[in-house]
Subunit: 207 residues, 2 copies
C-alpha cells in the first residue's frame, strides 16, 4: 500500500465510523413528533440555523469555522452518548468520557486532520472564542424552537418550567446572540402561557 | 411586529420547515444495516466527507462554499422526494419538481438569504463550477463507501453491476476527484470479486 493509499484508508475509516452518530438519539423529537431526533441530523439542522441566523451573532464570527464546529461537535457522543440538558449529570465525568471519545474517534484520522479537528472541538467545548460562543448559542436555541413547534416534547416529559428554560438555555443563547434570545423569550413566554391555560382548562373539564 | 421580528419569523419558518428533510428516506442504509438513511443525516455526513477529503479535489475549491452547497443540496427533496440513481427517472420532470420545491422552500426566507441559497443550489445542480463538481463527486462517492461496508444494500436490491457503478458513479466522482475514484475503484473491484465468489460458492452448495 502506498502512503497515499494508507492516508485514504485512515480517512475512510473515520468517515465510516462516524456513521454511528445517526444512531445516537437525543431527548428531542422531530417537529412532527413522529420519533426522536438523532445527533447526526441535529448537527445538519443546526448548521443551517447558524447560517440563516448569522447576522444575529453578538460578536463578529467566522461562519465557516462555526459550521465546522457544529459539524464536529457531537461526534464524541458515539462513545459518550447524549446528555439532555434537563437531566442532572456529573459534568466532570461526562467531560472525561467525551475527551476519551475525541481521542479515539478523531484518532482514526491522519495526524494533521486529527489535530485540526481536536482543536476546533476543544475550542467549542471551552466556549470562550466568539465562534464557539455563537455555536453554543445556536446548539441551545434550535431545540427550543423545535420543541415549541412539536407541542412540548422533552419539556413535558421532564416537567421543565419557563424559569428553567431561561436559566439553562436562555443565558447561553443570550451570551452568543442576545437579539435572538430577546425574540425567542417572547415565544417561550407565550408558549407557557398558552400551555398552562390549556392545562387549567383541562382540569376544569375534569372537575 | 417590528421589521426585525418579521425577519426572524421568516427565518424561523424556514428552519422549522426543513425539519421535514429528516423524514425523507434514501435508498441507502446505515452502515450497520439497521434502517434506511434519511436525507438530513446524509447531508451532515457528506459535509464531513467533503471536509476530510478536500485535499483530493481535482481543482482548487473553496471548501466553505462546498459545504454550504452540501448543507442545502437535498432540501428540495422535502417536496420532490429522493431519486435513487439506480432507478430510471424522467430527468426533466424531476428538475421541474425540484425547481418548484426550491421556489417554495427557499421562498420562506427573507429575500436576501433566499436569493443566496437559490444561487448556490442552482450552481450545485448545474455542476459546472469547481466547487459544484467536487460537491457532486462527494455526494456520489459517500454512498459507495457506505454500501460496500454495509454489505451491498441498494446494489443488491437493484442488481447493480460493477460496470453500472463505473458509469453512473465513477465518472462523476472522477470528474471532481480523480485520485479518490482511482482508489475507490479498486475497492469496488475487490467488493464485486468477493461478492460474486460468495454467490458462486452459495450456488455450488445449492446444487
Amino acid at each position: 500500500m502506498t502512503p497515499a493509499e494508507l492516508r485514504l484508508t485512515h480517512q475512510f475509516a473515520f468517515l465510516l465510523e462516524i456513521d454511528r452518530l445517526k444512531s445516537v438519539l437525543r431527548a428531542s423529537e422531530l417537529v412532527d413528533g413522529s420519533r426522536y431526533e438523532n445527533s447526526a441530523e441535529h448537527s445538519w439542522h443546526i448548521c443551517l440555523f447558524a447560517l440563516v441566523l448569522a447576522e444575529h451573532a453578538e460578536s463578529a464570527v467566522q461562519i465557516d469555522r462555526v459550521i465546522k464546529m457544529l459539524l464536529l461537535h457531537d461526534i464524541v457522543e458515539i462513545d459518550a452518548g447524549d446528555n439532555p440538558i434537563h437531566l442532572a449529570v456529573d459534568a466532570a465525568k461526562v467531560a472525561a468520557k467525551e475527551a476519551a471519545a475525541a481521542d479515539r474517534i478523531f484518532g482514526l484520522l491522519p495526524d494533521d486532520i486529527r489535530a485540526d479537528f481536536q482543536d476546533i472541538w476543544s475550542e467549542f467545548e471551552a466556549a470562550q472564542s466568539a465562534d464557539a460562543i455563537y455555536a453554543k448559542a445556536i446548539d441551545r436555541l434550535a431545540p427550543v424552537i423545535q420543541i415549541m413547534k412539536s407541542g412540548g416534547g422533552s419539556w413535558t416529559k421532564y416537567n421543565v418550567t419557563e424559569a428553567q428554560i431561561a436559566s439553562r438555555v436562555g443565558s447561553k443563547v443570550a451570551r452568543g446572540a442576545p437579539k435572538l434570545w430577546a425574540y425567542t423569550e417572547k415565544l417561550v413566554a407565550a408558549y407557557f402561557k398558552e400551555n398552562s391555560q390549556d392545562k387549567s382548562a383541562q382540569e376544569d373539564v375534569a372537575l
